[in-house]
């Protein structure tokens, strides 16, 4: 099975307080970049689908990772190559000039070229939290889609049973490949991804795998190609226009109350929460 995994780098969510807004625009200078966690889960799920879990060095499929970004974004791709992805593509573009729609249209053009059996991606990026690319891409491709996957069962690499957690239970969808699937965090639980290549008894460690040191060095030698955005989409106009950015107002200092009665009184009359 060949799987395409779109992967986005985001500013370190643990350092959200370092985000600056200058002149109504987001200022990315001085931010540290990390792979979007949901996309990392997608890479992990894609690797599990294309290997025998008891011998992860022997690949039984192909994982192609792709990102939109400047040259520096290749670091994110290379980290994915180090964990086991086979090939990387960087689409040269800046975040400011993109929205979910342009990304989905460009990915459609890339899918037409790369011909993967499955596009696997994070349910959303933790910077803009748009949650649009997977759904739009499936529509543009005319492929079946399943979103927020908590588990994926590959049926002889011809079809997938994708389970999503919903209120009060799980929603199971059966998709015939090719398809688009977006993943949620539970996809990296030890038994979340199953295929004919890995014995049913195998248990993965919880979470995303680490790259071995040798693999980090070997990642430099794996194929990395650059594609211009214009080669994929003739119309790069975004549908979303950003009119301005501002930081959330800083929280006001709290107050201390002496008695429960006073607390209730303030909640009722000042905060109007009761």
């Amino acid at each position: 099975m060949k799987i395409l995994v779109p992967l986005k780098r985001v500013s370190d969510p643990d350092n959200a307080n370092k985000v600056k807004v200058t002149g109504g625009k987001l200022d990315a200078s001085g931010l540290e970049w990390k792979p979007n966690p949901f996309d990392e889960y997608a890479v992990e799920a894609a690797l599990r689908l294309t290997e025998n879990g008891t011998n992860t060095k022997a690949r039984v499929g192909e994982v192609v990772v792709v990102t939109f970004g400047p040259k520096e974004a290749e670091t994110t791709l290379r980290a994915a190559l180090a964990t086991g992805a086979d090939k990387a593509i960087r689409i040269d573009a800046l975040d400011d000039a993109l929205d979910g729609d342009v990304v989905a249209r460009a990915l459609k053009a890339l899918v037409d070229k790369e011909k993967p059996d499955l596009v696997l991606l994070g349910k959303q990026a933790v910077d803009g939290d748009s949650n649009q690319v997977g759904q739009l891409l499936a529509e543009y491709l005319g492929w079946p889609q399943a979103t927020f996957a908590a588990s994926i069962k590959s049926n002889a690499d011809k079809a997938l049973i994708v389970s999503r957690e919903v209120d009060g239970g799980a929603l199971n969808l059966k998709l015939t490949l090719p398809a688009v699937v977006s993943v949620d965090l539970r996809i990296v639980a030890p038994k979340s991804v199953t295929s004919i290549h890995t014995p049913a008894t195998h248990t993965y460690p919880d979470g995303v795998r680490f790259a071995a040191l040798m693999a980090i060095m070997a990642a430099k030698k794996k194929p990395m190609t650059e594609v211009k955005l214009a080669d994929l989409v003739t119309d790069a106009a975004t549908k979303i226009k950003y009119t301005g950015f501002e930081l959330p107002p800083s929280r006001k200092a709290g107050i201390k109350v002496k008695t429960v009665a006073e607390l209730v009184e303030k909640l009722k009359n000042e905060a109007k929460a009761l």
Binding site: T75, R78, A79, F210, A211, A212, L213, M214, I216, M217
Partner: protein
């Protein structure tokens, strides 16, 4: 080398993530509850494929050595002369290998210089001592499992009466006994001593001659040998992540197969000095981890802690501390880079250079840790804020692997002899 390469940075980020997710949650148990660090270290080795790399390196070295012995046999020359190490050629791989050794040390030292010490003594010092001077059979028997951390190693030289004067005052002895030897003596401050499976025991051969003239020999001992007692961990000021103990040898009988190199004719003193050089260069990486972490914590604190109505980072006395930390960080980082660069050129530091490097790094790290505690004030004295642990741990850098005073005398002696 003026900065970390992209590959270095990827390795660093990966190790850093491991430290965050795997090491950090166990630090309390290791530092304060006496839990040995080996489980988390073994997980590190497995996660990053370090054991596989060690196996490959080991197989390569053994193959080369066998070829060398065969060549010597064919030429009729003695293999001993052949064992003299040929000058190494410059290779970027050797530089990368050094960087791959340094980066985990730096990152782990942010959390626990103790577990770094436990790791380094086992996989580094003890395994290297056997790899440098053992026979092929001895390497296969003991060194490989140390290099993969399947077994834990200890390197025993220090004694209650001999620290800085390691050889001069050494009382541990070996006496010939038939084909083998009987060993006796006691060792102290032995890293991994309480848990070691394999111990390299350094002693003098008593032939009835004057102690000063006695040969220095190294033997390899296994846990549980009759007459060998390994103490419980000793209580220490810091470095709680590294179990330290005493060893007692009461007439331990060993065959010649446990004598390192299986010959009494070996330059044990010179080889031990090589071990000192390796030990000293590793201190630079530990110091860098400590200083980077102290600086990071200090900057955060200076930007958030308020006194007299403003952030303490606005006070010049606090700024001075931060600036001095940066100077130390730059210097130590340059010394780490120098070692990586030298390894890439096929060179390694002389004992005097390694001593100078260790002296500076140990003192600078201690000063930075001390200033960090000061910057944190009362909070710095509290275990909750971690800097007190880093401060306690840094202190040993000025003592182990040769005290500051020993480093100074070695630097000075080298200057006066060659200058």
């Amino acid at each position: 080398m003026i900065e970390w390469s992209e590959t270095h940075a990827s390795i660093r980020d990966s190790i850093r993530k491991f430290c965050e997710t795997e090491v950090k949650p166990k630090i309390h148990a290791i530092e304060h509850e006496g839990v040995p660090p080996y489980e988390v270290l073994r997980k590190l080795i497995a996660t990053f494929g370090i054991a596989d790399m060690a196996r490959m390196r080991f197989a390569g070295q053994i193959e080369k050595e066998k070829a060398r012995l065969a060549r010597a046999a064919a030429e009729g020359s003695t293999p001993d002369a052949e064992r003299e190490r040929a000058p190494r050629k410059p290779s970027p791989e050797a530089g990368m290998e050094m960087a791959m050794r340094m980066i985990p040390v730096i990152e782990l030292s942010r959390y626990s210089p103790g577990i770094v010490t436990a790791l380094g003594v086992s996989m580094g010092l003890t395994a290297n001592a056997i790899m440098a001077r053992g026979t092929i059979a001895q390497k296969e028997r003991w060194a490989l499992s140390l290099m993969t951390l399947e077994t834990i190693g200890a390197w025993a030289i220090t004694e209650p009466g001999s620290g800085s004067d390691a050889f001069g005052a050494m009382k541990s002895v070996a006496k010939r006994d038939g084909d083998g030897y009987v060993l006796s003596g006691s060792k102290t401050f032995i890293t991994n001593g309480p848990y070691a499976d394999t111990i390299v025991f350094i002693c003098k051969l008593d032939e009835g001659n004057e102690p000063k003239l006695r040969k220095v020999l190294s033997f390899v001992l296994d846990k549980g040998m009759p007459g060998l007692t390994q103490s419980k961990p000793l209580q220490k000021l810091g470095l709680h992540g590294s179990p330290t103990g005493e060893l007692f040898l009461d007439d331990v009988r060993v065959g010649k197969d446990r004598l390192l190199g299986e010959t009494e004719e070996q330059p044990a003193r010179a080889a031990t000095k090589e071990t000192f050089t390796a030990e000293r260069t590793a201190v630079a990486a530990m110091a860098l981890g400590l200083v980077e972490e102290c600086q990071r914590l200090s900057i955060d604190y200076a930007k958030t802690r308020e006194q007299f109505g403003k952030k303490i980072g606005e006070f010049q006395l606090i700024q001075l501390k931060l600036a001095k930390m940066e100077v130390a960080r730059m210097n130590i980082q340059n010394l780490v880079f120098r070692q990586i660069e030298m390894a890439g050129e096929g060179r390694s530091m002389s004992l005097a250079e390694a001593s100078a490097c260790k002296l500076y790094c140990a003192q600078a790290a201690m000063e930075v840790c001390n200033e960090t505690v000061q910057l944190f004030g009362g909070n710095g004295y509290m275990a909750e804020y971690r800097v007190e642990q880093l401060f306690r741990d840094a202190r040993v850098l000025q003592i182990y692997g040769g005290t500051d005073e020993i480093q100074i005398s070695q630097i000075a002696r080298s200057l006066l002899e060659t200058g």
